[in-house]
Amino acid sequence: MKPNNMLAAGVISLALAILLPLTVLGSSSAGVIAFVVLVLAALWAVYTIEKRRALLTSLIGVIAAIAYPLVFNSTEATTIMFFALLYVAIASSWNIIGGFTGYISLGHAAFFGLGAYTIALVADRLGLSGGYGLFAVALLGGVAAGLFAIPMGYIALRLRTIHSFVIVTIAFLFMYQLLAFNLQDATNGSSGLAVPQPDWSGAFFNIPFYFAALLLAVLTVGLAAWIRNSRFGLGLMAIRDDEDKAAGVGVDTWKHKFTAYVISAVPIGIAGAIYAYFSSYIYPQTVFDPMIDLTIVLSAFLGGMGTLLGPILGSLVLQPAQQLLTLYTGAAGWDLVLFGVLFLVVILLMPSGIVPTVVERMRRARVQEAVRKADALSQDAVPDAAAEGGQG
């Protein structure tokens, strides 16, 4: 068996090993099976990462995602995929600064919370009621996150070492959490804020949220892909590789990092607002939550930081696993155990993440194949090769 096939088999077995017991435990396994199918589709996407097939793969992915709630319409199934798609958007957006430039922010949950509080406060102050119109207000969550990111990025990126950047971003997150707790008049403190609810009923309730998350995911991945293939993206990748050399070839490193930081805040702000609308009530500790940051980083890390597919794949694996564990084992925190175990497994077996590991294995397999063919050819033409060798 070729190494890349072995790796794929390993990943699929791992996914099945986690999922099969859950299928037995749960009564409705539609969502779980669909999840397995999606993971397989994502894996297939990894194999067809070459540019000419990328568009086709994305199209199949989007069609599958559109068809999903029509096939699996239980509340559990749509909730699971709602969160998976929301995190595809969040992790892909985070990847623009964390993955492309290597500046790992552990404070992007601040933008999630800012988006959540924006929709709650705007709806409350303007006396808005639930409905499709509130999704437009969710966009304001993105605007707010982007505006707040300007001074935050300015401060966090003054420090040129990645370590200090990480610490400052964590500090930002806790600062916002404290503010949300203490600015009683605006945020209602620890009592939290309600977001007006729409009158959609039954299993349909999730559908508009599902498609809002899908749209956000598609647009964010599109944005990340566009940046990755642009001159700006080339500069970001150069910064990740070697910031001094990047400056040497003419990349304005500060401007690049700052712009990437601000851009990456916007979709996360929108995601926070959609989440707030979906969950109907927000508290400082649930939207300014360090667990959100860990989930983002682990999703990107598992799939492969700095690649376009990595955060998508990571979110499609982690979110359903987390949701299912919470669903079937209650709030006992088994999802945290899973995160811990997965983190260790990834660090031990493929420290650069699934996508880069698979791509590298494929490249090696191709090189070995080429060498084998060349060997076979040179054995056929031994006298010629000997003559050439004599000249060299």
């Binding site: 001159r231 990748m237 990047a246």
Partner: protein
């Protein structure tokens, strides 16, 4: 034809006294000039003065007749002088194509960059063959060729090569210097600094011998190569001034 680069009476150093003490050097367009000399002779300092990293204390540097000795490295780059540094300067985690594209990062015209990339790929087949491979996975010699390719992305008139043989296996040196000769035949002027004096001079049109911050010998490369005083110099002796 008038000289593309004129260095006249240049004195320059790093604060602890002058390294260059009255250097005069003129480069004809489309030629390869190789500077040789013992350690500390000031070869690399000449490069730094031309590329704008070090400003001379006295003297003039003219490029196409215009004074450039007061310009910043970036301005000198835009004027058409590119340096390929001594150490490995590629981004090892990025692909070969991305590395070459970064050579034209200061250009905003994407169509122009694409066209240059196509031209450079023609000239350097490795850029096409290994386009999607990480630069860090190439051998030292291959990386040097990609660095050459990258330096041509801004279509420079003058290329400064600082010790291209550094850290390379002897058997691929010929290929690297051969590529340099091709670059020169394509109309670029090359200023080469080389520890491996024999190899450097063999591939050059003109040889310049420096010692203690001055030019001691300046003439056709073949002549410099066969000059017996060069041997003395590299055996640790000193050139006798006439």
């Amino acid at each position: 034809m008038s000289d593309i680069l004129e260095i006249q009476g240049v004195f320059a150093g790093y604060g602890g006294g002058d390294i260059l003490r009255g250097v005069n050097l003129n480069l004809e367009p489309g030629t390869i000039t190789c500077i040789v000399g013992p350690n500390g002779a000031g070869k690399s300092t000449v490069m730094r003065v031309v590329s704008g990293v070090l400003h001379p204390r006295r003297g003039e540097v003219r490029f196409n007749g215009e004074r450039i000795d007061h310009l910043s490295p970036r301005q000198i780059l835009q004027a058409g002088i590119v340096q390929v540094p001594q150490n490995r300067s590629l981004f090892p985690g990025m692909t070969v194509e991305e590395n070459v594209r970064l050579g034209a990062y200061t250009l905003r015209d994407r169509a122009l960059v694409d066209r240059r990339l196509a031209e450079v790929s023609e000239q350097f087949p490795i850029v096409k063959e290994r386009a999607k491979d990480k630069a860090g996975s190439l051998s030292g010699g291959q990386q040097k060729l990609v660095e050459f390719a990258r330096s041509l992305m801004l279509d420079p008139k003058l290329v400064l090569l600082d010790e291209p043989s550094m850290g390379l296996e002897p058997r691929i040196l010929g290929h690297v210097f051969g590529t340099m000769v091709e670059m020169s035949k394509a109309g670029r002027t090359i200023l080469l600094v080389e520890q491996n004096a024999r190899k450097g001079l063999e591939s050059s049109d003109r040889g310049v011998v420096m010692e203690s911050g001055r030019v001691l010998l300046d003439g056709p490369a073949q002549g410099v190569l066969s000059d017996e005083r060069i041997g003395d110099l590299y055996l640790g002796g000193h050139v006798q001034q006439h």
